[in-house]
């Protein structure tokens, strides 16, 4: 494996002057951002501010029109194989969860290992329960009953599906966790429960970037980034965010605090 080892001090994610063109105005404009190990970052902003675009650039599913993207100090590799290894270290929790509806809970959890598995294990996973201990462990961390493993995903409740998607994220063993408004469609009690679970997982050497539109959930984050019209409005410690900032962020809308 002739892969250069990243320097220890390199940030998990670094965006330099990232610009993504849009129809009327850029979706992201000359954005600089640096995420280090152990940081838990909340991404705030009104709808259309570019939060999803930022996360898509960060996980490599969207290529920026200009600027530089660095994962652990290295740009996305040219070789498909090495690039996949890089992407395997970035886990994304999608707003629509993106579970594979036709498969069982265990098969879905193991789908997160496909970056490391070859075809034999990928095929076997569709026939036999593989790596049951690791899958059960991932479920337990998200406070789900391991008895759910053989269940089809379609049999789960909404809250269980959300937890399963988070367990799958853990099963991927990423160092950078990205989450795109994972709490948007949940009731307040469930939202704060799941957020607590997610924050607990995001300890050094991991880091978490989570976009949300509810400033009342900022407790537990180290850092808050405000995004408005594709630009960075503020980037400060979570404790420093106050009503004035939020009013600027959400424009005329009164920010609920």
């Amino acid at each position: 494996m002739a892969r250069p080892e990243p320097a220890v001090a390199a940030p998990l994610l670094e965006l330099r002057q990232i610009t993504v063109a849009g129809r009327d105005r850029p979706r992201l404009e000359a954005l600089d951002l640096r995420i280090d190990c152990g940081e838990r970052v909340a991404l705030l902003g009104p709808s259309g501010a570019g939060k999803s675009t930022l996360l898509a650039v960060a996980n490599g599913s969207l290529v920026a029109d200009a600027g530089q993207l660095l994962w652990q100090g290295l740009p996305p590799a040219r070789s498909a194989r090495q690039r996949r290894r890089q992407q395997a270290r970035i886990g994304t929790l999608w707003q629509d969860l993106r579970l594979i509806e036709e498969l069982s809970v265990q098969q879905n959890l193991n789908a997160a290992r496909l970056a490391h598995w070859g075809w034999p294990r990928a095929l076997l996973n569709l026939l036999l329960p593989l790596e049951t201990a690791a899958c059960a462990e991932a479920l337990l961390q998200m406070e789900l009953d391991p008895a759910l493993l053989p269940q089809p995903v379609t049999a789960l409740s909404g809250g269980q599906r959300q937890r399963l998607a988070m367990a799958r994220l853990l099963r991927q063993q990423p160092s950078l966790l990205l989450a795109d408004e994972p709490l948007a469609s949940l009731d307040p009690r469930l939202a704060s429960q799941l957020l607590a679970l997610l924050l607990r997982q995001a300890q050094a050497p991991r880091a978490l970037v989570l976009s949300l539109h509810r400033p009342d959930l900022l407790v537990g984050f180290d850092r808050v980034i405000g995004l408005r019209q594709g630009r960075l409005l503020f980037d400060c410690a979570a404790a420093a965010v106050d009503g004035a900032w939020l009013r600027r962020l959400y424009g005329s809308e009164a920010a609920p605090l």
Partner: protein, 514 residues
């Protein structure tokens, strides 16, 4: 330990193993040079105006036969479909029994392939355009009737009952409550049948009923590959235009795709649909006139040539077990090849867009070719037999199934696949887990239906010799052994009816769990 859907999808491809093992033994040295010439001719088709003129004339005949046969089958299928609908009978007369009876009766014309109808009618009526038209119209009408009555009986009847309760007369209530929701389904299926009709008309031509198919067969037999390819390219253009046109209408009227599991409501622009249907009538009449279809000729039956000696004793002495067995093996091999190879090809091509495009082009060519022509081509290098026949039949259906798989993947939400890619899986595994999972059941359900079609189609590759009922039928037909032929048709019909029942059950089971 039940295999999950994407794995299920790969199971039919296991049939490739015995095929690959048996293939080297089937090769004979003879025709590689011919295959080479054939390949070169693809890029150097003949542009001789005389050739082109006769090809275009042949194409005109084929298209006219297809359109007429299709139009008749749509008309007949609608009438027969209404007549075999339980809902209609219950509303009009209060009992369902006649619907059941008509439905059973219609299974007979449906079970006999259009080629057999064509060859039988040819004996009765002599060579004239109406033979091909009827050969297409009869089995297609029975197929359309089944789909229409299935669609009708699956519609919720609450509206109908509400109208009846408020005093509407039965026919008006039926038309109002069931007409609009029925129309998009019927038109969508009708569009698909038109594509089939064009393929069938070409196929009938290969067996001598005139049109482009006849030209293709003659040029292939006289090894005029350049002229053959001129014909194929012409056919390709027409087929692609037709597929694109039908797809366009389907989108415009928001009709369900063939693989759609749920009815998509009443569609849009209902009035436009009705007008388009009505506009078909003068078009079809005009075509019939140009083609010289003479309804009066239907009255002039030719006396059948006298029976050969032998009688029923000869019928009983046919090797029935081998005939039926050969037919079943042929169907299984062809079905496994067609259903299994398409997802495998997509998986192999997943990382490279250019290869995916190449595979898609291959599918277009495969469904364009009538299977007997593929067979003749294969016989240049392979010995005749069940595997060669299965290759010809399987490749043709691969083209049809492949297109269907691609379409349904395009309709499927790509989110899961993109999520896997973003988490670092390779493009193949991402397609396998994220894409194919979602379409596996409906694709396999369609594959079950298509296997039933392939069982019916085994007769068209009967040319390969000694491959089941199809070959024996063609032989009996050419030796005017009517008693043998009758027995063969009955056995064949029974077999296809059993196959239809089996594939229906399989399909329902697959879709239930979806």
């Amino acid at each position: 330990m039940r295999p999950a859907p994407p794995l299920l999808l790969l199971l039919p491809a296991l049939v490739l193993l015995p095929l690959l093992i048996a293939l080297p033994g089937l090769l004979h040295g003879g025709g590689w040079e011919l295959i080479g010439q054939f390949g070169v001719a693809a890029v150097t088709p003949s542009l001789d105006p005389i050739v082109l003129q006769s090809l275009l004339a042949g194409l005109g005949v084929t298209v006219a036969m297809a359109l007429l046969g299709w139009g008749l089958s749509l008309l007949g299928g609608l009438v027969l479909g209404l007549a075999s609908s339980r809902t209609v009978w219950r509303t009009l007369s209060g009992q369902e029994l006649p619907a059941q009876l008509i439905r059973r009766l219609l299974a007979v014309p449906r079970s006999i392939h259009e080629l057999l109808w064509g060859l039988l009618l040819l004996q009765l009526l002599g060579l004239q355009p109406v033979v091909a038209v009827l050969a297409i119209a009869i089995p297609y009408a029975a197929l359309v009737a089944r789909v229409v009555s299935d669609l009708l009986d699956a519609l919720p009847t609450a509206n109908l009952e509400a109208l009846r309760a408020s005093g509407a007369p039965a026919p008006a209530a039926l038309l109002t409550a069931l007409g609009p929701p029925l129309l998009p389904g019927v038109l969508s299926y009708g569009g698909y049948r038109l594509e089939c009709a064009l393929r069938s008309a070409t196929l009938l031509g290969v067996f001598g009923l005139g049109g482009l198919g006849t030209e293709l067969k003659l040029t292939l037999q006289s090894l005029e590959f350049h002229e053959l390819w001129s014909g194929l390219w012409v056919l390709l253009v027409v087929m692609l235009l037709l597929e694109a046109g039908v797809g366009q209408l389907r989108r415009r009227w928001s009709m369900p795709r063939r693989l759609a599991l749920h009815q998509a409501g009443v569609g849009r622009r209902g009035r436009e649909m009705v007008v388009a249907l009505l506009a078909l009538l003068p078009l079809l009449l005009g075509l019939g006139w140009i083609l010289g279809v003479d309804p009066a000729a239907l009255g002039h039956w030719q006396p059948l040539p006298g029976l050969g000696s032998g009688g029923w004793q000869a019928v009983l002495s046919l090797p029935w077990f081998q005939l039926v067995g050969g037919t079943l093996v042929l169907t299984a091999l062809a079905a496994g090849l067609a259903v299994g190879l398409a997802p495998l090809q997509l998986l192999v091509a997943a990382p490279w867009p250019w290869l995916r495009r190449l595979v898609t082009c291959g599918w277009v060519l495969a469904r364009l070719w009538p299977p007997p022509l593929t067979l003749l081509l294969l016989l240049f290098v392979l010995k005749p037999g069940v595997i060669t026949a299965a290759l010809a039949l399987g490749l043709h259906n691969l083209g049809i199934l492949g297109r269907l798989l691609r379409e349904s993947l395009e309709d499927h939400n790509p989110a899961a696949q993109e999520a896997l890619l973003a988490a670092g899986s390779g493009p193949r595994l991402a397609l396998f887990y994220g894409g194919l999972s979602g379409v596996a059941r409906s694709y396999l359900a369609y594959g079950a239906y298509r296997s039933d079609v392939m069982l019916r189609e085994t007769v068209v590759v009967g040319l390969a010799g000694a491959v089941g009922l199809g070959s024996q039928m063609l032989e009996s037909l050419s030796s005017f052994a009517w008693d043998q032929l009758a027995a063969l048709v009955v056995v064949y019909a029974l077999l296809t009816l059993a196959g239809e029942e089996l594939s229906d059950r399989l399909r329902r089971r697959l879709l239930q769990r979806a």
